[in-house]
Amino acid sequence: MTFFIVFIVIVVVIGFFFVSIYNSLVGLRNRVKNAWSQIDVQLKRRHDLIPNLIETVKGYMTHERQVMENITKYRSQAMDAGTVGEKAAAEGLLSGALGQLRVQVENYPDLKANQNFLALQEELTSTENKISFARQAYNDQVLFFNNKIQMFPSNIVAGMFSFKEEEFFEIEDQTEKAVPKVSFS
């Protein structure tokens, strides 16, 4: 009888243990998903900002038609992209074109004094930041989740319910990483 009670207690304790590990794994996987969706939200936000930006800028930047055409082109490419790979490529090109625009703006003091442009520029800067912070947060979450999956004892539960390791979001453009940091100060 005593043996039977002890046996039941052990089973219940182990059961609870498993359930709590399972729940924490599900919670972590949801955090990974949430972090991923944050990236998407911000990319969409960037697309929404661009028509407004072009509208404001075109009156001033008469000599930079090419840059603006590129921005419009890559935006529609990114929005129409079917696969993740295509989308990533188009978004990368869009980031580059927007960066070019920012450099060109320095030649137009009138534009830099335009309040509407300044407000838009703040939104764009922030959206670019949010995209990179969202990537960083996503990678943090993935690292944490993958560690949990590999480590004992959660690896047993992960194996039983086939939790898969998530992939890191690498920066596509490897040259971007290779550029040495130059400081003029």
């Binding site: 955090r31 949430n34 972090a35 944050q38 911000q42 509208e55 404001t56 960066g99 920012r102 450099v103 703006v105 009138d110 004094a113 335009n114 309040q115 509407n116 442009f117 300044l118 407000a119 520029q121 703040e122 939104e123 800067t125 922030s126 930041n129 949010k130 990179s132 912070f133 969202a134 960083q136 947060a137 990678n139 943090d140 979450q141 690292l143 944490f144 940091k181």
Partner: protein, 406 residues
């Protein structure tokens, strides 16, 4: 990783916390025995814990509101200061917090900031108008990241309970010394026998010693927790922003300001990013200060050139302090994710001249007073007073019509 760090952080603070708790119990016991020699000691402990419990309950449920009200902070929407709103959102995304902290602005020209909220779900970040006027985007991001770190690391929770313990100890010591002044315990002394009288004298001496030393000791312990948490918040902030120079130069600017924050007082001082009561940041590390010396915080941040994870901060800390100490718990140091520094923002709208700073702060004050600001396509900024009745306004420069939604 952040979550492991919170755990380790909690475990470390718990030792100091237990120390303060034991002090509280000792004081309760001694004072209790003094008033009623038989079994007053346990009654004293009961009273001490009750007092702490009540104070903690009040600050747990209303502390945030009280702090924000006392500091004169006003909750704002995105239109009041889009950059502040954006920066807070950026840091929320970087920390992967599900809830956006509420944003408050304090109408004061002295630059400073604080965070509040026991739980991340109902947290708030408050900054002064002066801070928004003086700092550029990167610096503001550093400050917001520091405040966000207090929220993630549950610093407000720990500081609230530790602060209330300090409050309970100080209050009891105060009441005791005053009652002694008016001869409170003396009637028990005459009743007791010779032997009891001797014990009574020992307890009296002990009680007086505790009444004097207790609050000081509790304060030192409290400040020890507070200082450590400032360093930790700096470390987390850098990890979030990946740009240590932003926070460093923000700290320089805030400590360099010679304006006084009118609404800050002794109780709320530890909550701010830089102690609002001490001018020009103390040069030497001091056991009686709530914040680490500002020059040291800046030096640590400036010497982070290798990367921005917790191990990098610990290394910089060791180099600057010239000693090895376990500031960051072990679990934080094994954080293998190598995070490299990022460059500063290309487009910085920094306000170089005093006149620009004043205009920026002035605009902000107008917004806090419900002025409506409209940016016209032609580039000028329309400032509409709150009592403007019409539904639309035309731009005085280009004549475009803007709708006003009341």
């Amino acid at each position: 990783m952040m979550w492991e760090l919170i755990q380790a952080n909690r475990r470390k603070s718990i030792f100091i916390f237990i120390g303060m708790g034991l002090l509280l119990i000792l004081i309760g016991f001694t004072f209790g025995s003094f008033y009623a020699p038989e079994n007053g000691g346990f009654l004293g402990i009961f009273f001490a814990l009750m007092l702490w419990g009540i104070l903690s309950m009040v600050s747990y449920f209303a502390g945030s509101k009280i702090l924000l009200a006392v500091s004169g902070a006003k909750e704002v929407t995105k239109d009041v200061h889009p950059q502040l709103y954006n920066v807070v959102e950026e840091m929320r995304i970087a920390a992967n917090l599900p809830h956006q902290p509420k944003i408050y602005i304090i109408a004061d020209a002295a630059p400073n900031a604080f965070a509040t909220g026991i739980k991340p779900e109902n947290s708030a970040i408050a900054v002064t108008a002066g801070l928004l006027g003086t700092l550029n985007r990167d610096e503001l991001q550093g400050v917001v990241a520091h405040e966000m770190s207090h929220i993630i690391n549950r610093d407000v929770l720990v500081m609230t309970f530790a602060g209330m313990m300090l409050g309970a100890i100080t209050l009891m010591a105060e009441v005791f010394t005053r009652s002694l002044w008016f001869g409170g315990g003396s009637r028990y002394k005459s009743k007791s026998s010779d032997k009891g009288g001797q014990a009574q004298i020992i307890i009296l001496v002990l009680a007086i010693a505790l009444a004097i030393l207790g609050p000081i000791m509790a304060q030192l312990l409290y400040f020890a927790i507070s200082r450590k948490r400032e360093y930790l918040a700096d470390a987390s902030a850098v990890r979030l922003t990946r740009y240590p120079d932003g926070l460093a130069s923000a700290l320089e600017k805030i400590s360099g300001s010679n304006l006084d924050l009118k609404t800050a007082n002794k109780v709320t001082a530890p909550m701010y990013i830089i102690n609002p009561l001490k001018k020009k940041g103390m040069q030497l590390s001091n056991v009686t200060s709530t914040h680490p010396p500002i020059t040291e915080r800046i030096n640590i941040l400036r010497s982070m050139t290798q990367g921005v994870n917790y191990a990098n901060y610990q290394n910089a800390y060791n180099t600057v302090k010239g000693k090895t100490s376990g500031l960051i718990p072990q679990s934080g140091l094994t954080d293998s994710s190598k995070i490299s520094l990022r460059d500063s923002e290309l487009s910085q709208t920094s306000f170089e001249t005093d006149k620009q700073v004043k205009r920026e702060v002035g605009d902000l004050m107008m917004k806090l007073n419900d002025f409506l600001f409209i940016n016209c396509y032609c580039g000028i900024k329309l400032k509409v007073p709150p009592d403007f009745k019409s539904d639309s306004i035309s731009c005085p420069k280009c004549g475009r019509i803007h709708n006003i939604s009341h």
